[in-house]
Structure formats: structure tokens, C-alpha cells
């Protein structure tokens, strides 16, 4: 809406160059852009959290494994969806990955359509998460524009208190509260108290 959307990129991390290059060929054939990485470390070194897309990750790799990379990403608060590629005996690892928040997993070798379907779903999910994050950031920046007093008024408003009660709590006249209240609504870009309450709830559940 505000800024042009960056094109999503499918980031493939696999230590096997045959698999990596085949993935690039497949993704290109459906018009998807890809970036290839031979190791988890290589990926982390160039990773930009702001880049929309999804991660397709081999669960077993020498050095840092796929699971360890996922752990690192979680520690850094990454939102990017992760699709794991596993071998036949790796179901317990895949289960662990899912518990740690992986988006999905696929057993090698997989049907191309299965992979592409999951990637599409992951991209939708990534876009949603990024939109939500953008919304949260918008609310936060509005909140930062409030004065300390306005913030107090907002907190009492979202507790469902009327002007009179708020005036009493803060020891000022109802007329003053009315002015603060109008400012809060304006700065928060809210049409109703209900909307204010929703914004504050969204933020509370974000963390």
C-alpha cells in the first residue's frame, strides 16, 4: 500500500550442488526467483530479515544442520517460513522441526507440484506476517507520538472508563479530558474506542 512490495525470493540451503541447481531450474520454470546457499553459515552471513520469501532447508548438513539454523533464526526473531527437506529416516527430526515452528516438511525426493504448492502457501503466510508486523509498527509509531498524559488517558479509555471517571482519576476537569481524548483518537488514527481497544490488544498479543 505505502511502499512497493519487494519481490519474494525462495532461499534454498542444501550442501548438495545437484539438488540446489535443480531447485533453481524448477523455481525459474514457474517464474520464481531463488537464491542458493551451500551451507547454513553461508545463508546467515548474507541473510536480510527484510527480504520477503521463504526458506527451503535441508535438514541434514555438515557443519550447522537445518535444525540448528532454524534455532538460530528463532533466536533472532525471524518470521520467514521454513520448509524442510528430509530423507526417509528423518521423520523424528522433521517432527522436532515442526514443533520449533517450521512451516512444513517434504521427503526427498518429492513431487515438484508438492514443493511448489507448499512454497506458494509459505509465501502467502510470509506476506501476511509481514503485513501484520507492518501494522504493529504503525500502531507503535502512533503510540510514540502521544504525550505522557495522552498515554495515561488512552490506557484509562481502553479500560472502558468514561470521561468523568478519567477526569477524577487524573484530577483534572472533564473538559480537559475531552481535549486529550480527541488528540488520542487523532494521533492514533482511530475512528472509535473499539478500534483503539483492538489496536492495543493486537500489540499485546504480538509479543
Amino acid at each position: 500500500m505505502e511502499k512497493p512490495q519487494r519481490k519474494p525470493v525462495i532461499m534454498v540451503v542444501d550442501d548438495d550442488s545437484g539438488v540446489r541447481n535443480a531447485m533453481r531450474a524448477l523455481l525459474k520454470s514457474v517464474g520464481l526467483e531463488s537464491q542458493l546457499f551451500a551451507s547454513a553459515q553461508e545463508f546467515l552471513a548474507t541473510w536480510q530479515p527484510s527480504q520477503p520469501g521463504c526458506l527451503v532447508l535441508d535438514i541434514r548438513m555438515p557443519g550447522m544442520s537445518g535444525l540448528e539454523l532454524q534455532e538460530q533464526l528463532n533466536l533472532r526473531g525471524a518470521v520467514i517460513p521454513v520448509i524442510f527437506m528430509t530423507g526417509h529416516g528423518d521423520v523424528p527430526m522433521a517432527v522436532e522441526a515442526m514443533q520449533q515452528g517450521a512451516f512444513d516438511f517434504l521427503q526427498k525426493p518429492f513431487r515438484d507440484q508438492d514443493l511448489l504448492d507448499r512454497i506458494q502457501k509459505a509465501l502467502v503466510k510470509d506476506a501476511e506476517r509481514r503485513a501484520t508486523l507492518g501494522e504493529h509498527n504503525r500502531i507503535r509509531s502512533h503510540l510514540e507520538a502521544l504525550t505522557a498524559r495522552e498515554r495515561e488517558v488512552l490506557d484509562l479509555m481502553t479500560q472502558g472508563k468514561q470521561n468523568k471517571a478519567i477526569a477524577q482519576d487524573l484530577g483534572v476537569s472533564p473538559r480537559t479530558i475531552e481535549i486529550h481524548r480527541a488528540r488520542v483518537m487523532e494521533k492514533m488514527n482511530a475512528q472509535s474506542v473499539a478500534e483503539l481497544v483492538r489496536m492495543m490488544l493486537d500489540l499485546k498479543h504480538a509479543r
Binding site: 539438488v19 535443480a22 531447485m23 524448477l26 520454470s29 541434514r60 544442520s65 526427498k108 525426493p109 515438484d112
Partner: protein, 260 residues
């Protein structure tokens, strides 16, 4: 009993022992192969994944209003390379399970023996999330050995090393196989890992049958390895090379006519 009868009985016992030992080694080799098969299957998944993915990409490129033939050509070339790679993995495994291999000793180039194992061991390393380094000293003289038995010992040592590093929280899990001269008239093959090292309480009994502290396996790996190495006139032992981890080494006398 006459001395001659005693001699006959001793000979018979020795022969039975050799047969039993032979059978034991074969069983141990097959057990190792069984474990290896799992990781080979895993390794075959890589070229298979590349092949199927390339093939489907080709179909898509050809279905375009203006087929991208350059992409298709590249993909086809890769498909055939991946197919050959898969075949290589299987060929190496077959080499190892040949049971008609005579047990006879012959002149053997240890570097070639290690090199033949590279594909298999790399697969195993990958399955254990470890990096495999192979450092061969060029121009080593040959030893008197049975290549298949020697490979069996090396696979055993390497597998132990991979398992040792697998459970360590080391990000850089590393196993190194090296060949070198030892004191001029022996060849040493060593397998070094950076895992937790050999537990103190087991270090004396390491090569005894069933001394294993591992949850799985036959408990015969090192015992059979020692038997094989002894039959080659060699020695097997351990030492510490890195701050952490363990080194297992094999030493064999150099073939005399190879010493100049």
C-alpha cells in the same frame, strides 16, 4: 595320547578356529554393510531428488509458448551426471559386499584403499552431519594386506568416529582420515575425530568383544578390527591428537621389496 594325535587335534582345533573367525568377520562385515546401506539410501536420495526436479523443470520449460531450450539442455546434462553419480554410490557399496573375495593378502596401496571408500564415507559423514577430511601422503610404499578386510576396518573406525562427533554439540563436527609414514618402515592410517574422546572407564577394554558403550551395534567392531589387523602383522591403537576427541591408528609393515 600320542604326540601325533595331540598334533592332529590341535590342527583340527586351529582349523575350526580359523573357520569360525572367518565367519565372524563376514557377519561383522555384513552388519556394518547393513548400517551403511541406510546411509547410502540417504545419499542416493540426493541425486534422485536432483534428477526428478530437473526432469519436471524440463517439462515446464518445454511447455512454455517459447520453450527455453538452453535451460532444457543444461538440465539434461545435469540429469545424466546425477545418474552416473548415483550409480557410483551403488558400485562402491557392491564392491564392499562381495563375499567371494579371497582372504589372501597381496600388495596393497593404502591410499587407493582409502580413496575407494571416499564416496561411501562421505555419505556416512553427511548422514551424521560431519565434515570428512581425507589427507593422503603421496608416494607411500605398498603393504601386504587384503583390501576388502582393510576397508572393513576403516569403515568401522570411521563409523565410530562419526557417531562420536554426532552427539557432540560441536558446530564443526570433523573426522579426518590420514595416511603417513611411521618410523620409516611402517605405514600408518589414522582416523581422528573431534568428539568427546574415549571414556576413561572403557579405555583398557576398548578392543575386547562386547565392551561397547554404544546403544546400538554388535559390540564386535573393534574386536574384529583388531583380529584383522593382527592377521596382517599390524597394530591397532589409540592416542589423542586434538585437545578433544580421539585418534585410532592402524600400522602395517611396509612390504620389503617396496623398501628401497
Amino acid at each position: 595320547m600320542q604326540p601325533r594325535e595331540i598334533q592332529a587335534q590341535t590342527d583340527a582345533a586351529m582349523e575350526a578356529l580359523i573357520v569360525a573367525q572367518d565367519r565372524l568377520m563376514r557377519v561383522a562385515r555384513l552388519a556394518t554393510m547393513g548400517e551403511m546401506a541406510t546411509c547410502v539410501a540417504h545419499e542416493l536420495n540426493q541425486p534422485l531428488t536432483a534428477i526428478t526436479t530437473y526432469a519436471r523443470a524440463c517439462e515446464r520449460y518445454l511447455a512454455m509458448p517459447q520453450p527455453d531450450l538452453a535451460e532444457v539442455r543444461d538440465a539434461l546434462r545435469e540429469i545424466s551426471a546425477e545418474g552416473l553419480r548415483a550409480g557410483e554410490v551403488i558400485r562402491r557399496l557392491r564392491q564392499m559386499v562381495r563375499s567371494d573375495e579371497p582372504d589372501a593378502l597381496g600388495p596393497v596401496d593404502v591410499n587407493a584403499v582409502v580413496e575407494e571408500l571416499r564416496t561411501l564415507l562421505a555419505a556416512d559423514a553427511r548422514a551424521h552431519g560431519a565434515e570428512l577430511r581425507i589427507c593422503l601422503t603421496a608416494g607411500l610404499p605398498r603393504i601386504s594386506a587384503n583390501a576388502v578386510q582393510l576397508q572393513h576396518v576403516l569403515i568401522n573406525l570411521a563409523r565410530n568416529a562419526f557417531e562420536a562427533v554426532r552427539d557432540s554439540h560441536n558446530v564443526h563436527r570433523r573426522v579426518e582420515i590420514a595416511t603417513a609414514f611411521h618410523l620409516g618402515d611402517e605405514i600408518e592410517i589414522s582416523v581422528t575425530d573431534n568428539g568427546p574422546g574415549v571414556a576413561q572407564e572403557i579405555s583398557d577394554r576398548l578392543f575386547d568383544p562386547f565392551a561397547s558403550t554404544k546403544g546400538s551395534g554388535t559390540g564386535l567392531g573393534l574386536a574384529v578390527s583388531r583380529t584383522i589387523v593382527k592377521a596382517h602383522g599390524g597394530t591397532i591403537g589409540t592416542r589423542r591428537d586434538m585437545a578433544r576427541g580421539a585418534t585410532f591408528y592402524l600400522r602395517f609393515p611396509v612390504l620389503e621389496d617396496c623398501l628401497t
